[in-house]
Symmetry: C2
Subunit: 331 residues, 2 copies
Amino acid sequence: MCEIRQDPTSKEWVIIATERRKRPSDFLPKASPAEKPPFLGSCPFCPGNEKMTPDKILSFPESGSWRVRVIGNKFPAVAPDGSNARQMEQGCFLKMNGLGVHEVIVESPLHNMTLALMNEAHLREVLLAHHLRYQSLAQIPYIKSIIIYKNHGQNAGTTLDHPHSQLVGTAIVPRHLRTQYEFAISYYDDHGSCLYSDLIDRELEAGTRMVLENERFVVFHPFASHRPFETWIMPKAHQASFGESSEEDIYHLTRVLRTTLLKLYRGLSNPDFNLVINSAPVGEERADFYQWHLRIIPRIIQPAGFEVGSGIYINPALPEETAKFMRELQA
Amino acid sequence: MCEIRQDPTSKEWVIIATERRKRPSDFLPKASPAEKPPFLGSCPFCPGNEKMTPDKILSFPESGSWRVRVIGNKFPAVAPDGSNARQMEQGCFLKMNGLGVHEVIVESPLHNMTLALMNEAHLREVLLAHHLRYQSLAQIPYIKSIIIYKNHGQNAGTTLDHPHSQLVGTAIVPRHLRTQYEFAISYYDDHGSCLYSDLIDRELEAGTRMVLENERFVVFHPFASHRPFETWIMPKAHQASFGESSEEDIYHLTRVLRTTLLKLYRGLSNPDFNLVINSAPVGEERADFYQWHLRIIPRIIQPAGFEVGSGIYINPALPEETAKFMRELQA
C-alpha cells in the first residue's frame, strides 16, 4: 500500500509511491556524462576571460591567480534599481521593480571541476565566499531574503557548465518561505521549541533516515522527501540564519558537505542536482522559530503534471532506503 | 529594469526577467522531435495489447474498436485501500494510507497521435471521458480533490509515449490548493465577488494577454505567468467545478482547447507540456469563491535552484509578448 506523508515544514503532502517503488540502484544514469575540457576559450568563467564578466566583488586569494571569484550576474534576475514600492494595476495585478542583488560565485578556475571532487580547503573557500556575500547583502536595507543556490547539470537548469553557484537577495520575502515561517512560528507558539531543532532530535532518535553527522551538523533524508535522495544538512545548535555561522561552523559544514557530495557523486554517478541554502528572513537572525538549512535535490526524475497541478510530489523512493544506501557508501 | 509580479491566485511572486528576455521565437527547439510509429507491439496502450493493462472502466465507443479508453493505472500513486485516518509518529511525522483512485485515459488508438492534431469530435470524446470520470469519482465519499493532468513529452515527465492523460482523486486536499482556496475565500469576503471571475473581466478589459475566446471560454497568458507560454482556459460563467460542466460547455471547451493546442504545436514545434484541470474541492461544487480552470504549461525551460529554494519563478518571457505571438498565429 502507498503511503502519504506530510512535510512538517510546509504541510505539503508527499506520496511515497511504493507501487512504483524504485531501489536506490535504479536511479543510476543510463549514459556516462560527457567529458569536459579543463579550459574553454569561450567560457566567461574560465581564467583569462575575466573581461567577459562584470567586475570582481571578491576573490580568494585577493590578487593573482584566483581559486574562487565572486562577480555580479551579467544577466541578473533582479538589480539594485528603483524602490520596493508596489503598484496595483486594474485593482487586481500587483507588481514592483525587480529590486535586489544577483551575484555569481565562480567556484574554481577549472572548467571541469565539481564541488564533490574539490579538496577540503578549496570547498571551504567556496562556502566562505557564500558566507561573506550573505553577510554583506544582509547589510543592504531593502534586502529581506537571501537565497544561495547552485544548478549542477542540465536537468538542474544550468546554462553554463563552468562550476558556479549564485546568490540572490530580494526585497520581497518569497510567499513559499513566508508560509513555512508562519508554520514554524505557530509550532513555536504551541510547543515553545523550534520545529527544525525538534526535527533534528527526532531524526537522530529514529536514525533510519540519517546519512551522517559530525560535531556540529546532521545530514539526513527527510521523512517526507519530495524527491529521491533529497538531502538536508542542518546545524545541531540553534541558528536561524546562515549569516550567523562562525568560521568554525563553516569548517564543520565543509566536512559534511564534501562527504555528502562525494557519496552522491559515487553512488549515483555524478547526478544533476540543485543545492540551496535557506535562512530566516533578513532582520530575523535571532528568531527562535527557524533553523537555516542546506538542501541538495538530485534532479534524477522529472516532476510532471500531477506535481504542477497539485503541489504534491510523488516520490518513488523510500527515504529510509536511500539514506541506508548513502550511509553504506564509501566516500 | 526587471519587474516582479504577484500571482493573484497564490500570492507567489514571479520575476519577469527582462534582462534575460527571450522573444517567443527563441523558444523553438533545436532538434525536431523523433518520428514515432502509429503502432508499437510493446506499448501497453496500443490496440491489441489491452490485456497488458487493468480492466476497462469506460470506452468510446462502448464496444468494438475504441477511440478513447479509460483504465486503472497499473502502477497507481494512490489506491482505494484502507482509511483516511492520520497517524502521528514521534510527535512530528504525520502520515496516512495512500488512499485514492488513479486512472489513465488512453486518448487514441494511434501511438503517434497527439491532442493538437485530433479532429474535434475525437478531442471532445477525450474531454467527455475526463468529465464522466470526474463526476464518477466525485461520488466516492472519501475523495476530496480530483486532479486531471497530462504529461506530453519527456521534459514534461512522461514515461510512456502513447497519448494519454491521467486522473487522480485523493482523500486529502493538497496544501498548495488549500492555500489558493483560502486566498480566494478571503478575496470573496473582501469584495463580494469571485477572484477568478474578476480576473477574467480584467484580462478581457486589458486585452494584451488574451489569446482567444468564444461564447463560453477565455484563453489567456496570466499576468504573473510562471513560465513562458503558460496558458489558462477558464469558463466565462461562474462555475467552481469541472464536474459541473454541461455537454454544451464541453463542446465549447473542445473548440478553444483544440485551437490553443494547435497554435502551440505550430508556434513552438510540438513543445513538451503539462495540461492540468483544477477544480474546487469535492463537496464545494457550489462555492462562490472559486472557478475551475485548465492550464497548459509548456516545459521549454527547466526550473533551477532559485525556484526550488524560493518558490519564485524566473520567467524570461513577457506574457504580453507571448500572448500576441499566439493571437497572430494561424491555427
